[in-house]
Assembly symmetry: C2
Homo-oligomer: 205 residues x 2
């Protein structure tokens, strides 16, 4: 096991171990209530070794946001690439799949979005703003929306992003023992987005 990997590689692995341990803990409790010792215990290193990787828990928090928003950005990229004949059902199913596959990341994001450390909150809010902006650009290209003001486009994009966020949070709260509840959440999200689309078709028409 030893000898083959370089010192730098081993260090990077330990760093990832710390991030993963913190993410796991942060999926269940607020980041502000997690101690440095807990994280190192979960990562199987001694508390003092923490400082070889981060100056403080705050710094680990920011690294954690980087890690989590990667999942979010991946989802956004998936959704933009996919141009199915039913973009609403397509987006929702991409969302459901991503939330399932990266549930600790989304759990952390949902919890810390308004949760705790200012540095963490700011990093999350920036990523969400980026998401809304990209959706605005996508909407601007759609036939029928080319005459819309940028304010109206942003208003609609914000509404759609908000609905997606509420859906993510609903998905995370669903009890996995009742898979029907998840089906209901998905149905509701699709209907809500369809209703928004209908509203957009009627908007200032």
């Amino acid at each position: 096991v030893t000898g083959i990997v370089s010192r730098a590689e081993r260090k990077e692995r330990t760093r990832q171990g710390l991030i993963e341990a913190a993410l796991k803990l942060g999926a269940e409790r607020s980041f502000a209530s997690i101690s440095l010792r807990e994280v190192t215990r979960a990562a199987s290193i001694v508390p003092t070794a923490f400082y070889r990787h981060f100056d403080s828990m705050d710094e680990l928090g920011v690294a954690l946001v980087d890690e989590c928003t990667r999942a979010l950005r991946q989802m956004i990229r998936d959704a933009r690439r996919d141009s199915a004949d039913d973009p609403i059902a397509g987006s929702v199913s991409i969302l459901v799949r991503n939330v399932r596959e990266h549930s600790p990341d989304f759990r952390f994001l949902a919890r810390e979005r308004f949760g705790g450390v200012p540095a963490v909150r700011r990093a999350i809010s920036n990523t969400l703003r980026l998401f809304t902006h990209e959706l605005t650009v996508d909407l601007a290209r759609m036939p029928g929306l080319q005459t819309w003001s940028s304010e109206d486009l942003e208003m609609a994009a914000d509404l759609m992003v908000g609905t997606m966020l509420e859906t993510i949070q609903a998905l995370l709260e669903v009890d996995p023992r009742y898979p029907d509840d998840e089906v209901q959440v998905i149905r509701r999200a699709e209907h809500q987005l369809r209703l928004i689309a209908l509203g957009m078709a009627a908007w200032r028409a």
Copy 2:
């Protein structure tokens, strides 16, 4: 100062003092990271006296939700009573006024909605569900929506509540030094609700 008030009254005042102290602390940091000693310090009593009022911080958390959701329920009552000729602008202005007047309460609710202690989270989620349910009932009475299924009514009510929640969170994040930002948030919220209303008019029509 002494002698006039009963023992029970004094006890109740101290209890309120604990709740207010915790609310003040909870408006700025996650409830899970606040210690029993901090709360008693802010309420000017000795740590051990805490147990005359609550068995644990968890129990105080639930009392705190009661206190905060009172502000929320008041807002809901205001909004339902008000039957102006423009219910959307009316609801939004009621929402803005309430958020301004009870910002620590709403800050606590926003933070703890996904934040920390399960007991607190559950209490908040119950109140929000109640809110959605009441709005569903209100919608069912509206002309033009009487033929809607209860599933569709709930879907629409949920969308409106979600939009209001996102608006509350945006209002809390606005920097008070730039009042124009608040105006923008209000404008956007009104437009989003109008767009939803348009969507409802076109829904399965």
